[in-house]
Symmetry: C2
Subunit: 147 residues, 2 copies
DNA sequence: ATCTTATTGATACTTAATCTCAATTGGAGT
DNA sequence: ACTCCAATTGAGATTAAGTATCAATAAGAT
């Protein structure tokens, strides 16, 4: 079980992962990561493009998509489907665990911090001979407001 | 723990869910569901559009998108982001459980049938006062071929 | 068999994402 | 600090994905 990391921590860690993976830490990537970490979860690419365009040091459209792809590949962010249309991106913490509940009626998203599937993951690693480095658990249900 | 339902079972069950939700069981919806259930998981909308166009009784582009949206809303299918670009759709079984591992290197998808997070879900239902009807568990790692 | 309403398909349209290529920049090495 | 080179960027063109409109059709209730 782990506490949610604060924004600054997430940001620093993500930068490290970029660096140690051999990619350049450019102004565009730094600024974009800042946007993602500060704003919080569930931004669409359009959201990010908008924010990036309004920044003091604007980032181009193509670079936003490229960076989102790169960060996804590195496991730093993760696209997920909340509503129709474009994916929403979440920033994955260092331990790679993220879980939320989506209400099927109102699409409200409830973030979950307690997550105890570690034992199951251990078993899967052995059974499939694979090293698991992260997960996304999405739960679907009907929230109390929608009952 | 549950066995994976066979295609026919998935299909019949999905039709039932459509019907009991008050939607008409049209030829287009039936054919499209058949495509989804028979072909298996991880088709993109473009894949489905192609298959639907080649069928004996072709289904129009717009109807494919409409039906994919409807089936998603009903929890019968679920978009996920495996690679870049458009989402891939998976057909959710009656029990609403789906889990897979995605290799971060080669994007290979390993389906998982054993899934033991039921106790955890019970606890979450109580804690968040919500009824959970399904989940998607995505695990990220590096498969043996990519080590 | 009839009727009502949901659904469909064709087309036009909007929005999202990708490609290309010259200009720029991070950072390794000197 | 300075130089250099490959990685990265931005602008704009292009392609692909998804949506809207509306007359025609079909499901299924009576």
């Amino acid at each position: 079980m782990s506490k949610p990391a604060d924004h600054q921590q997430l940001f620093e860690n993500a930068l490290d992962r970029l660096r140690t993976s051999g990619y350049k830490v450019t102004a565009a990537r730094r600024d974009l990561l800042k946007i993602l970490c500060q704003t919080g979860d569930h931004l669409t690419s359009t959201d990010v493009i908008e924010k990036a365009a309004q920044a003091k040091r604007p980032i181009g459209r193509a670079s936003v998509f490229r960076t989102l792809d790169l960060l996804t590949e590195l496991g730093i962010i993760r696209p997920t489907y909340l509503h129709r249309g474009a994916p929403n991106y979440i920033v994955m913490p260092e331990n790679g665990h993220h879980a939320h509940i989506i209400c099927r009626d109102c699409s409200q998203v409830i973030e979950i911090n307690e997550c105890s599937i570690d034992e199951m993951i251990d078993a899967l690693e052995v059974r499939h001979n694979i090293e698991i480095t992260g997960h996304l658990l999405e739960l679907y249900g009907k929230c109390k407001d929608c009952e």
